[in-house]
Structure formats: C-alpha cells, structure tokens
Amino acid sequence: MNVSEPLLTDPIYKILFDSIEEGFIIVDQSGEIILANPRTCKLFGYEEGDVIGLKVEDLIPVDLRKQHKVIRTDFHQSPKKRSMGAGMNLKALRKDGSTFYVEISLNPIKLQETVFISALITDVSERVAQQKEIKELNSHLEEKVKLRTIEVRESQELYSAIARNFPNGTINVFDRDLNYIFVEGKELFQLGITSEKLIGTNYLEKIAEEIRPKIKRALLTVFKGEAQDFEIEFKGQIYRINAVPLSYDSDQIDRILVVEKNITEQKQIIIQQNAALEKEKRLNEMKSRFVSMASHEFRTPLSTILSSTSLIDKYIERELYDKTGKHTDRIKKSVHGLTEILNDFLSVDKLETQITPVKILSFNYEQVSKDMVEEMGTVTKAGQIITRELIGENFTISSDPNIIKNILYNLISNAIKYSGENKPILYRTEISNDSLKIFVRDKGIGIPKQDQGQLFTRFFRAKNVTNIKGTGLGLNIVQKYLEMLDGKLTFESEENEETTFYITIPINQ
C-alpha cells in the first residue's frame, strides 16, 4: 500500500527485496500483511501477491493462532527488535495446509507516524531436521553409553566375582614396593581376611622371614618383565606363586599380577603317589630277593632229600638196611629245615598283621640266658665260644620271655653263622630298674658299609654273605619283635673285623 511504495521505488531496496533468501513481510497494527516479497509467497506456497491482505495468523497453524494474536497485540503496544522461533521450532502454515519450521526476526518500523512491524522469515526446516537427527543420534548414543556402562559394570562384577571365587588361592596385584593394590580369592574368605584389610599393606610382611629375601628377589625381577613361577611353604601349606608383569600402555611395569595357588593337597597326592610307587618298588625288589633266596634255601635241603631217598633205594636193593637210618634222619632234618624257613615267613606275616599277642610275665632272665647259651652251644663252629656276661642286681624282670628268647636266638645264631672257627662271641646283658640292655658281638665278616642301611629289609642279604645260607628274614623279625616291646635295635660293624648288635628294652621289675 502507500506506506511501502516509496520503499520499493528505490531500485536498491527493490533488488534486495526481491532477491533475499528470506521471506520479508510488513504487517500493520491489525496484523494484516501489507507487503511481502516474492520469496515469502514461494515459502508459503502462494501465487505472487496473494499474501498481501492476509492476516499474519493465516500463515500460522490453527492451534497457535489465538495465542499468537495475543502476543502480537502486546508486541505492538511496546515494540522492540526481537527474534522469534530461534531454538524453539516455530511452525508456519503453507497455503496447502502443510507446515514447516521458521525463524523470524521482528523489527518495528515507524512510517509516517504509524508503527508497522517488519518480519524476516527464514525457513529452518532443514536445520530443524538436522537438529532432530543430531538429537536422535545423541539420544541413541546416550542409550549406547548407558548399555555399555551396564556391560562394563557387569564384566567388572564378573571379574571380581571370578577373583573373589578363585579357588584355593588368591589373585593379587602389587605395586613396585610389593604393596597390595588388589587382592581377592576364596582363600582370603576361608582365612577370614577381607581384601580391604590387606590393600595397602606389604606382601612380604605376610611371609616367613627366612624366605622373604628369596621371594622379594623373585618378585622384583617380574618388574623387569620376567615372569616367575615358584613354590613356597607358609604355615604348613604349600603355595605355587605365578607372577607376571601387568603392562598397560607405557613401557614401564609398575604393577605385577601374582596368582597364589594353594597346592598342598596336590602335593600330598604326589607324595602319596610317590610313596605308593616306592612301596611298589620295594615290594618288587623284595620279590626278586625272595626268589633268589628261596631258590637257594629250598634247593639245598631238597637236594639232600632227593639224594638220600636215592641212597635208601640203593641200600634196600643191596639189603644194607642199617645204612638207611642215617638217610631217613637226613630227610627229616631237611624237612625240619624247610619248615623253619616256612615258619620264618609265617612269623614275618604274623608280626606284620600283629596277630601274635605280647604276654608280659615276671621271669628269671638269668635262667633264660643260661639256657640260651647252652642251646646255641650245640650249633657253634669249631672253637667258637659264647661268653655270657650278666650285670645287674635283680634278674627277675617283667617282659615277654618268648619274644626275648626269639630275639636272642636270632642274634646269637647270626653271630655264629657270620663268624669263623675259633672266633669268640660275647653275649652281654645289663639289667637296671627300667631297662634291659643286651649286646651280642662277634669277630666275623662284618657288614659292608653300603649294605648297612638296608640290613633290616626283608629278604635283604649283604653282598659278602651270598655264599652263606640264609633267608634275609632274621633281623627283620628281630626288629618287629622289638617294636612290640617298644625296644630299640642298633648295630655297629666293621667289615672283616667285628659286628655288635645293641638292644634296649624298657622293663618293669
């Protein structure tokens, strides 16, 4: 209308008015559009010029019109430069009813004493769409972050649960001073220690003083990048320590991971297995010793029996009956010898299973020792003399006389067997209030040093007696008997010189 016409007559204004990318309108006090540039028409989908005469509210969606009218009226009363829609997604209405987002700058202008409002309209649909997209992206990202946070928390919980439930040991992280940074594991719980209590304390303080330097040295080498794997003993428990450097991004290792695993049980199993294996080995050795011993000890009397029966046949054939008596005696003697060997085996077995009960009686030891020397005197070699010495005040003692006789029989017959003709044998006894001490000494072949350790092993025979008959059971039996009486057996021997067996038995007088 006439108000604006002077403006548009100016060619510069006209160019600006026609070419700017924003819509430009001027509205009068009643809200009527009195001027609009071509861009406005295009934005709102009207034919050029059709916008003129419309109310501003015609360009606003129906639901916002009433409110706008109020705001517009207020604005008109106290007009000032302002912008609308910035950051608030202001909607505008096209002729076809569709909407789009705008940003509007308002400017009051005074023309011929009348106040008009000019509005610069920018289509921000694209920007809003972008913002919306960004917002959506952002919210998506936030969602992701939330999810990730949950995942991280879960995996942290998982890790600490793994560490906390690490069986039979602990998982530790130490700093350069070997202070606890992290510690978890089932053993802590079992020992009633909380990880909080340990964190910050020094690992070495937990360890027995004597092995501290070794552990410290080992763990400090881990900080040089060398993993360590060793075992330590602590309060009767055996631990396997596995230490590896914990490296992050930097080259410097300032933390190490130490896994402490209690392997006491496994160790015990290994020990048991080894013991079983050892036992198996010993049994095997015993078996082969038994076979070689039995071969010899059985074959000799069997030979005598077989040759004596042959001779009996021959004498009967020749009717030399008086010559057969000697051979029947020989057969009997050999059978007795075999029975004795068998009894040795059986007594070992009995002693092993502890069937033989100990019968403690009060008896006269002096009589027992006299009888023993007399009995053994019949089997001595030529010139072998058994000297009996008895020291003490009271020779009536309380013990098992049969066991003591068996022990004496074994030791004295050994002395006879393993010493030569004309060699003396000393059998000495000292009786005190609470003990019976016996020693039997011969001047015989002695026991080689390398065989002394195995002397009480069943069927074991020293290297220097392979040509002397024997089962390798005697000393084993003596030892078993002494165990029954809580007694002790020791010996001293010098090869080709002498051998002395010492016995101590606790007694009650």
Partner: protein, 134 residues
C-alpha cells in the same frame, strides 16, 4: 683203573650223600668242604673229574675253576658245577668260565651218575683217539 672224582661241597649232608652215591657206583671219591681246601687237594690228587658247588664260603666254585684253569697240570680236568642257582645268567657264567657241565639242585642219583659217566666216556674216547693217532 678206577676213576677218581674230587667233590667240593660245603653242605655236609650233601657232601656225604653225593660221596655215597658215587662210591656205590664204584668211583673213588676225594672230598673237600670248601674251595679253599679243594684247590690244593685237586693239585695233589689230580682227579679224573671235579664236582664243585658254586655257593661256598672262603672260595666259591667260580674261584676254584679259575684257580685250576691257570695251572696246566689241572686245566684239562673235566669240571662240573653243582648249584642251587637256577638262573640262566648263572648257567652262562659257569659255562663261560670253562665248566664242562652243570647240575642244578635238587638232582637225583640218576642225573648225577649220567652226567658223570657222559663226561668220563668223552674223556676216554678222546684219549684213545689221541693214542691211536700218535
């Protein structure tokens, strides 16, 4: 001429039994109760055959065989081990040392006499052959 056998055995009963079996079969028998006493006796008696136990105190059967093998006068005398050892190793050891035969205990009179006869016969045959060859 009667054949003379020297017997070394530390078990007294076995020594007597073997001696009796051999005497009943008309052999002359000289005995020793261990290797230490046996070696000088072999040198003195120069028997036609030696029967010797392996496991003996003082000097065992291997020692006896070794000792007589070193003396040219006794080295050729047929030598039979009597033993309670039945392992193959022991058998091989005895044979490697130059024993002519090996009797494992327990043996009866037949086994003993067969072994002794076989050995004497072989010696007799070889000697006769040598005689005709010269």
């Amino acid at each position: 001429m009667r054949v003379k056998i020297l017997l070394i055995e530390d078990n007294h009963e076995m020594l007597e039994n073997i001696e009796e079996i051999l005497e009943l079969a008309d052999y002359d028998v000289v005995t020793a109760e261990n290797g230490k006493k046996g070696v000088p006796l072999i040198k003195k008696e120069l028997p036609d055959l030696i029967l010797c136990d392996i496991m003996m105190p003082e000097l065992d059967g291997y020692g006896v065989l070794d000792a007589i093998s070193r003396d040219p006068l006794t080295a050729a005398i047929p030598f039979i081990f009597l033993t309670a050892k039945s392992g193959k190793e022991d058998f091989r050891k005895g044979m490697n040392l130059g024993a002519d035969d090996y009797l494992t205990k327990p043996f009866d009179d037949r086994q003993l006499l067969d072994t002794v006869e076989r050995r004497i016969k072989k010696v007799y045959l070889t000697t006769r052959q040598r005689f005709w060859n010269t």
